[in-house]
Symmetry: C2
Subunit: 140 residues, 2 copies
DNA sequence: GCAGTTGTTTTGAATCATTCAAAACAAGGC
DNA sequence: GCCTTGTTTTGAATGATTCAAAACAACTGC
């Protein structure tokens, strides 16, 4: 629904532009894509656009809370539309593929450290590392 | 003990060099330092060295399991000497300071995802985000 | 329906951490 | 003490991301 994406942008106080719709659209069909993948998906449909614009749009959408940015060690930033819940990720140690994992416990911050070193904890981010199905098949 | 660091290097099958000793030394007194901080600490004591050499040394030490590399979102790679146990980290959302947190549960992988998306899970990495004591004092 | 304001995109350049590669060098085995 | 081979040096390259100014277009109000 194009309309729902428009509404989302408006509610977030952002102007509705073709680029933003296209990026939200692309993220709908390819969760955990990086800026470059999104750019390649979106570019054919937009006359003049650039990887910089995509970065810009992604930064705006992240700041507005419409997309979530994750940065697994060793790969560039990934973006996803699933926001608001406190879910986590599994990253393939071989190919870098990312998949969602539901929160281990119930609500955020979902885990409490045994000793917080004096920090005022806000959230807990869990990243699982393992072999994705495809790489299991390939490497045994 | 200089000797223990030498022994560590030898046991790992690495040659003992001034640079490696210096980097291990620096990491002993500044856990969670990034490559640049280590370079600045180490440079005065070594005639000709460069940030590239430090990167090189850190890569070797990480591969040998003598140091652990962590990459919190939004900052450059940090290194620490505490290896072998499965501990986690708290990162300050304001200044990026990192502190250790003991493993939430007992042994690695320390957590199991509710659904593993077909991945063969190897480890779980937990990053807590919050305000460090200094930033709490500064920003209230 | 149109004009103005202001947020957004474009374009181009710059930054930063990190990696790569070849030549100079030095640690440790003999 | 010499040789082999791993390590450091030096210099350049990469790639993701950010910055900045000018061109542009979405929405507001008329």
């Amino acid at each position: 629904m194009n309309g729902s994406r428009e509404a989302e942008l408006r509610e977030a106080g952002l102007r509705v532009t073709a680029g933003r719709i296209a990026v939200l659209d692309a993220l709908g069909s390819m969760p955990h894509a990086d800026a470059d993948a999104i750019f390649r998906t979106v570019a054919p449909g937009l006359e003049n656009t650039s990887i910089q614009s995509v970065h810009n749009i992604l930064a705006d959408l992240s700041a507005a809370g419409l997309v979530r940015r994750i940065e697994p060690a060793g790969s560039s930033a990934r973006y996803e539309r699933r926001v608001g819940d406190n879910h986590h990720h599994v990253v393939c140690t071989n190919c870098g593929a990312v998949a969602d994992v539901d929160c281990v416990h119930g609500a955020a911050p979902c885990l409490s450290p045994s000793a917080d070193a004096g920090y005022r904890i806000q959230t807990a981010e869990v990243t699982f590392w393992g072999l994705c199905p495809a790489c299991q098949a390939a490497t045994g």
